[in-house]
């Protein structure tokens, strides 16, 4: 009797298996049709490095301080300085070698002027190795419409020196006078 019972049990288990696969048949596929659809990349994902442009003036935020070039662990960044007629520094050339860039994000971290940023772009393979050296035009073009949050708050331009002199003593704790000052 045991053998017959086992046989029925075995066939019952086979039916359970069929039920399990049938349950998954009508469910929605998890596949993403990659070349036609893409996942949205997270804000802080580390892909292609770009140069950021000031949306108001339309010029590069970079002022060629060379800090990214010095900090780059693989020496992928090459910048040359130049000065315009107003005496402001600007990058004459700015080259990123994507063949050795390791996408560590240190350049973005050390930049004090929101000049450089890593974006979510990741499809930049080419048939020609030389195409991976991105020059200034290419980097500016890539970073043209990249949204970014300003690290450095703009200086209160209208009152340059006087408020600064006033705020310095105020910042020192003066417990007795605070109420009067505020009023």
């Amino acid at each position: 009797m045991g053998a017959i019972k086992d046989t029925f049990k075995g066939f019952w288990n086979l039916l359970i298996g069929l039920k399990t696969t049938a349950k998954y048949l009508p469910t929605r596929a998890v596949t993403l049709q990659y070349p036609y659809e893409r996942w949205p990349m997270p804000e802080r994902s580390r892909g292609v490095v770009v140069l950021l442009t000031d949306p108001d003036s339309g010029e590069l935020n970079c002022n060629a301080c060379l800090v990214c070039m010095r900090q780059c662990p693989v020496s992928a960044i090459t910048v040359t300085q130049a000065k315009n007629e107003k005496g402001e520094r600007y990058p004459d050339s700015f080259t990123i070698d994507n063949t050795i860039c390791c996408f560590c994000g240190i350049c973005e971290e050390v930049c004090n002027f929101d000049g450089i940023k890593l974006t979510g772009k990741y499809e930049f393979s080419t048939f020609n190795k030389a195409d991976l050296f991105y020059d200034k035009q290419k980097l500016q073009e890539l970073g043209r419409d990249v949204k970014y949050e300003k690290k450095k708050k703009p200086k209160p331009a209208p009152k340059p020196a006087a408020p600064a002199a006033e705020t310095a003593p105020e910042s020192a704790p003066k417990p007795n006078d605070t109420a009067e000052d505020k009023s």
Partner: protein, 352 residues
Amino acid sequence: MFELDKALLAVYNFLQGWFISVGIPVLVLDLLVMLFAGIMVIVVLLLAALFLVWWERKVSAHIQDRLGPMVTGPHGTLQTLIDALKLLQKEDTVPASADKRVFFWAPVLAFVAAFMAYIVVPFGKGLIARDLNIGILYIIAITTFTVISLLMAGWASNNKYALLGGMRSAAQIVSYEVPLTLSVLGAVMLSGTMSMNEIVEAQGPYFWRWYWLPQILGFGIYLIAATAETNRTPFDLPEAEQELVAGFNIEYSGMKFAMFFLAEFVNMFTVSAIATTLFLGGWQPPIPGLSFIPSWVWFIGKTLLMVFVFMWFRWTYPRLRVDQLMGFAWKFLLPLALINIFLTGLGVYIFR
């Protein structure tokens, strides 16, 4: 909707009158009709095989929460056609140490044997190429040719994996042929005939009178044995990828490979068509009120349902071990099939 047999008969009668009036012997017309039937069967089966390959990929994909082929044509429907065209263009390599003649004829035999079974399959009311009075016996005899072709392929390739695959398939198909034939006998005993058309007519247009209910045991044995006959999972030992790379067809490329591949799917369609004919009422509608839908639609629909069941098996069950496989056939299915025949005989004796 219309019945194809009446339309074909009208065309035949018209042509016969025309032939007589012109003065050509009617024998020529009969030969042309045979040729036409043969070509139609081949065309329909090739289309069915192309469709089944696509459908198998879709079923497997959706069971595994994937999408399967999606790019070529709407939902990838043209994918198999493109694959077949690609295989046609490929170089046809023959191993240097192969037995060349046997190597060449093995896929041809597999292909021809797979198609020959369709001479006696009733696709619809009157849609049968030749209604042999030993129809089911003929089918069982012809489908066994597959073993020879697989063994030829395995031997001629001169490759250890191919040979092992061919040997396994020979052992497996010969073993499972016995319970398959015995399970088919139950339906033959109930209808009292071996002609496929008469078996269908004996079942009548009532789904509770079809032979799946009185032959529930035979139907189950047939399903298991047919899965083994077509070398499909859980009985796909002849082509067990993990052990044998690809089994008997490992050395084949190009069109010869495609012939094996298509023959495999045609065989699957064959066993489904036989299951439909013997156990699911063939081209009969489930209730008489549904007879306005043409008979060939019912036949194709039921056959595709059976094909789906085989695909469902394939993507659910893991593979058996060799000794389990043989033990299952000889120690379990064979006695069960004999018991089924005994019970059927008893039932026929009592209720008639």
